[in-house]
């Protein structure tokens, strides 16, 4: 996006709502912001109708701060809790049909490449575990097999939250939920492994209680998808309503789940490592002997 679009036309400043003026004067467009600066700039996502204590909302906020070029990013989603927040952000959002997000993103990213060539236009899919692993699985997998160059982020709350707490493929075995009155009878789907097999160039799991790590993986995933290939991030974003997690215990739960089944995992293809290192100066993928002792990721 030309940053001229973000500026006011002469004489119109005083007529613009405060909300918009703040976005122009203190927003993230055209400058680098980090999660450690939260509170000192206007975020693209602030107001939203999500439940109190929702970890998914925190994750979405962090992810949007981490977008390397928020002014040239388009998000794509589907039905689920997440889109209630994503659609409130000052970033164009595509809300299509049920589970079609990776199909839409395929056409969208190819179309944008036709029109804008090498100029980055980042397409980021953010959908829930039901949208990604159940109803949308076919389009998700095929977009990976086709090496579509966009990022897929699963907001995994391990339940159909928006429809009132039904079992999803990402629910843990044994969990008692609606539509699983005797407990879920099969294992949580291994989408991470599927992503690797299907050819994603960057795969990571993450929980929202480590903002810098969220920022780091999102940035890498979006950058890799620009030129190398599909990237997948699976984020644990608990549903404190359906799993009855007290609001003040949401982060504790995230920590417990991180230790149980959401240990940080990052897979980077050799090509993606080389690209991140050479193009964006990431030092963490250099050979051990060449890497400095404390390399800092997240530069973009």
């Amino acid at each position: 996006m030309s940053l001229d679009y973000v500026k006011f036309s002469n004489g119109f400043e005083k007529f613009m709502p405060k909300e918009y003026r703040d976005m122009v004067e203190h927003g993230p467009f055209g400058r680098k912001v980090t999660v450690s600066q939260m509170g000192s700039f206007k975020e693209v996502l602030e107001e939203h109708p999500m439940c109190a204590g929702c970890a998914m909302t925190l994750f979405i906020r962090l992810a949007m701060i981490a977008f390397p070029n928020p002014e040239d990013t388009i998000t794509v989603g589907t039905a689920g809790c997440g889109r209630l927040a994503i659609s409130q952000a000052a970033i164009p959002f595509v809300y299509g049909n049920y589970g079609d997000q990776n199909g839409v993103a395929s056409g969208l990213s190819r179309g944008l490449r036709l029109r804008f060539g090498d100029k980055p236009k980042d397409v980021v899919v953010m959908a829930g575990d039901g949208g990604t692993a159940d109803i949308g699985l076919q389009q998700v997998l095929h977009s990976w097999f086709r090496k579509e160059r966009f990022t897929t982020i699963m907001l995994d709350n391990e339940v159909y939250g928006n429809t009132g707490g039904q079992e999803s493929g990402m629910t843990n075995k044994g969990a008692v939920l609606k539509m699983a009155p005797l407990g879920k009878k099969f294992e949580k789907m291994d989408m991470v492994q599927l992503a690797k097999v299907a050819g994603c160039a960057y795969v990571a799991t993450v929980v929202p209680n480590n903002p810098r790590r969220v920022e780091s993986v999102i940035k890498k995933a979006v950058l890799v998808a620009r030129e190398i290939g599909p990237s997948y991030i699976q984020a644990y974003t608990s549903c404190n309503i359906e799993y009855a997690i007290p609001t003040d215990k949401v982060m504790e739960d995230a920590k417990a789940v991180e230790n149980d089944r959401y240990q940080f995992m990052e897979y980077v293809s050799e090509e993606a490592k080389q690209y991140l290192t050479e193009r964006y100066g990431y030092k963490e993928f250099l050979a051990k002997q060449a890497a400095p002792a404390a390399s800092i990721s997240g530069k973009a």
Binding site: A90, R110, H142
Partner: protein
């Protein structure tokens, strides 16, 4: 065609679905495509000289795409599918289509068409029968999302038991989507309607998808003469900046708004927003009339309707059969007219009311069981014509339509001669004769 060497199959037919052209290192396979010149739609449709080729409907669609400046085409080889999308693949190899891939299945294909159209590029796909119904959730959402695109439906059966034969029942499902729907009679219509479809679809006050239907096999696989412009010219590209709704390219001022706003709240405003949205989609369908009149010569064409004893109203392949039926009727001394409907959405209601005011008998032959066209015609002229409407004859499941069936209905309608081809329940208007009902009941 300009190819110097035409490969043929053992039957001697040209093989048209060959792979991308060979690259010999010297000749640019895209050279011819790169030399294509953009012309205005007016020049393309009305002034450009045309030459005649004897080609299949799928080849006619391919040639239309060659001249339509298509950016993104997405294919899926469903059985039953025509050759169309693989021929478009050849165009991709030759550089006439900029981007192309084989999708996973129709749900994914229709979603990706929606994505491409949102990105601001010109999109095309084709499907048929079960593929249409599989993709229908996506297709039915395109108008609401205000996505210009052209989709071709080469109609086949959709009902169980599974079959692959021609039958245009799927048109009934497309009519209420909010998209513009044309019905091609022959290969020439296929060619013309697709090209006009892109232009009409992208008009600022329309901004809707266009579906171009034809009857599978009869049009797609059979050959007919098609008059085509030179392949060195093409339509202007889509101009996304002029769109009625912003394209999703992040080139607009940021706002906390979603173009595809979810209006799922249970309150009056949400209902109202959705209601107004639907009204606007159908208003846009109405606004397309002037462009259909301009670029396609009208929503219908009428031959010999004034002073005719009876009029046959048909669309698609049924129109071709009806034309022959009109000729046979003339030999029998019956003065019969023909109305061929090109556009099903918008429907030529006003035109039919004007044309059918004094008509006494209307026969509506169709290639489907349910008779969607007869219902459309009856609804359109109700109160404006006292004509007896015979909703038939109908063939389906792959049957072809002997013209004698149509002639039979014209004769029985005009003379009172008994017919058992059309159920009494499908005869509308006119006076009901108890004897005819009794005759029909005995015959079933």
């Amino acid at each position: 065609m300009s190819e110097t060497e035409i490969k043929t199959n053992p039957q001697g037919d040209p093989i048209t679905s060959v792979a991308a052209p060979k690259v010999d290192g010297k000749k640019d396979p895209h050279a011819e495509a790169k030399r294509q010149r953009v012309v205005t739609p007016e020049y393309m449709f009305f002034e450009a000289p045309r030459t005649r080729e004897f080609i299949t409907g799928s080849e006619a669609a391919k040639e239309a795409i060659r001249r339509s400046n298509v950016d993104l085409a997405i294919a899926y080889p469903i059985t039953p599918q025509s050759e169309t999308m693989q021929l478009v693949g050849v165009l991709y190899g030759e550089g006439y289509v900029k981007e192309y891939y084989r999708g996973e299945e129709e749900v994914g294909v229709m979603a990706a068409i929606a994505g491409g159209s949102r990105a601001g590029v010109r999109c095309f796909t084709a499907t048929a029968g079960p593929g249409t119904l599989r993709g229908l959730e996506g297709i039915a959402s395109w108008p609401g999302h205000r996505l210009p695109a052209v989709a071709m439906f080469t109609c086949r059966v959709v009902n169980a038991p599974l079959a692959i034969q021609p039958d245009n029942i799927e048109v009934a499902y497309l009519l209420n989507c909010g998209m513009i729907v044309f019905h091609a009679e022959n290969q020439q219509d296929m060619f013309d309607f697709i090209m006009a479809g892109f232009v009409i679809s992208e008009k600022n006050d329309v901004t809707l998808p266009v579906g171009v239907c034809c009857d599978g096999f009869f049009v797609t696989h059979a050959r007919g003469y098609v008059r085509m412009q030179d392949r060195g010219i093409k339509l202007p590209p889509r101009d996304p900046w002029r769109g009625a709704v912003p394209v999703l390219d992040a080139e607009n001022p940021p706002a906390r708004l979603s173009r595809d706003a979810p209006v799922q709240k249970s309150n009056f405003m949400a209902y109202n927003i959705h209601a107004v949205w639907q009204q606007e989609v159908w208003a846009a369908v109405e606004r397309s009339r002037k462009y259909i009149n301009r670029y396609m010569g009208g929503l219908l064409s009428a031959e010999n309707v004034e002073n005719a004893d009876a009029v046959i109203i048909a669309s698609g392949s049924a129109a071709a059969q009806s034309r022959e039926a009109v000729r046979l009727c003339k030999e029998k001394g019956l003065n019969v007219g023909l109305i061929k409907i090109r556009s099903l959405r918008p429907f030529p209601t006003k035109e039919l009311r004007e044309l059918c005011g004094n008509v006494k008998l209307i026969v509506v032959p169709e290639f489907n069981y349910v008779g969607w066209l007869a219902k459309e015609v009856a609804t359109a002229i109700y109160g404006y014509s006292k004509a007896k409407i015979i909703g038939g004859p109908r063939v389906y499941g792959g049957q072809s339509m002997p013209v004698e069936l149509i002639v039979d209905e014209v004769e029985s309608g005009l003379t009172g001669k008994k017919s058992t081809n059309v159920a009494m329940s499908q005869i509308m208007g006119g006076a009901v004769s108890p004897d005819e009902v009794a005759h029909f009941m005995r015959s079933i």
